[in-house]
Point group: D2
Chain length 146, copies 4
């Protein structure tokens, strides 16, 4: 697989909130999972699968594993985006890669999250499901970001 | 190294807040990093090194990497603790293991965070430092939790 | 009504988290509503009405209004409690007073929240309800804190 | 004072995050103060006074009081904005009005926050200050929103 050109990768702009910055002057580490969650929803939406539509179709996803590498801190007032791309597919699970980038393209934080697909009926989670075409097609081809 | 008996491992009780529970009815994944941060501070305090004292001594720690394995969700009203123990030591960095446990001892979530020690002067971070005896002694012997 | 002695007022200990402290070095203003929410749940529980039991009985409460007076900031590592007491009763609504206190008794923040009682059926909110004896008895007599 | 036309009022788009929605399916009440904080920063920026510039000029603001009226809940996926306008000026303090609005213009939540201006030197807060022209001019004329 050829490396994706940057123009092909979906990016989600993040508004760093004053309250997310801690005493060290940088975004508290836990907020990155919130940024990634937001970016994932926006990515699915951009790919034609709004989250609420996925749920209406009887599917939801749950986190199985998250990995984050923190390279440098982001400060209040900085302009950042989160790049999102699928990096691996299993039978019932898939991984998304995330990368926080500054305006100058510098990667400050890398993330990888493994999700499992579950069935959903009237708001009740029913157990693991094979990745349905609805989700598989929305995610697109794997293109690891790091 | 023999496996630690459970009575030897430090645990930190977590008060699951209503606002931390999401639409799926379980704690949102990002809050675990907050729980681990709190548990780390309590662990250091329990081992005789209050965080503010560490900073007054000219040291701070920064996250380099976090890994979380989500096994089952925690609901509002559940009683949980976070077990904390050091699992690996390098020259300037060390890892802590975290484990979220229910009252019945069931592990719901496993975490591992790698920290690097940095120098601190008048609130300014100065760069990596070898782990000083102050911190090394407080952390104690490695005893991986998972 | 005589002023309550302090020993009569319920207090809830709050663990100030590192991530709740902002660049100014004090707890970010938004977290007080989280502290009050937690303290309210603990207050009801202390008075014999666990929140989940109230919901199982077909009732929930919703915020109508919140007022907070910020007198001084709370820092990381400080030991605080939130005092809780009912301050006013209407037909379908009631107010709770909150007060954040330092170890030395100093009040740092005053809050008042007005709640309305709503009916609940299978997780669906049904509209306003008169305060039922279940809730009225749990709340106890009004004793404004500020 | 004539009521402002809506086109004159600054509005800040808010991205409602999945993790901000609680078990009741609506944004948890505490997040509104975060929305207002963000909206205030954006308002100042829009009016030519970036927050960091205000701090560099030796000023900061602190919350004295907040009032919020909750009229209806906001759900995940809803598109909302926060309108911001100054509503009152004192010697050292001023109030901003906030209003959360749906796409159809419906006001879901009203807020009013009173801030006091404080002096700032090398990151240290020095005490109350008269509102300087720098801030007074940026805020503009009072135009209460509710």
């Amino acid at each position: 697989m050829a490396a994706p050109t940057d123009s092909e990768v979906f990016t989600f702009p993040v508004n760093v909130r004053y309250m997310e910055v801690d005493v060290q002057g940088v975004v508290f580490n836990g907020w990155y999972l919130t940024y990634f969650d937001d970016a994932m929803t926006a990515f699915l939406n951009h790919r034609g699968l709004p989250y609420l539509e996925m749920m209406a179709a009887g599917y939801d996803v749950q986190l199985v594993r998250s990995e984050i590498d923190y390279r440098s801190g982001v400060r209040f007032g900085e302009s950042i985006v989160v790049a999102v791309a699928p990096s691996r597919f299993g039978r019932t699970s898939f991984a998304l890669d995330f990368q926080v980038r500054r305006d100058n393209g510098e990667a400050t934080t890398n993330g990888r999250i493994v999700y499992v697909v579950v069935g959903l009926e009237n708001g009740t989670v029913l157990g693991k499901r094979e990745i349905p075409p609805l989700i598989r097609d929305a995610l697109g081809d794997p293109r690891p970001l790091h």
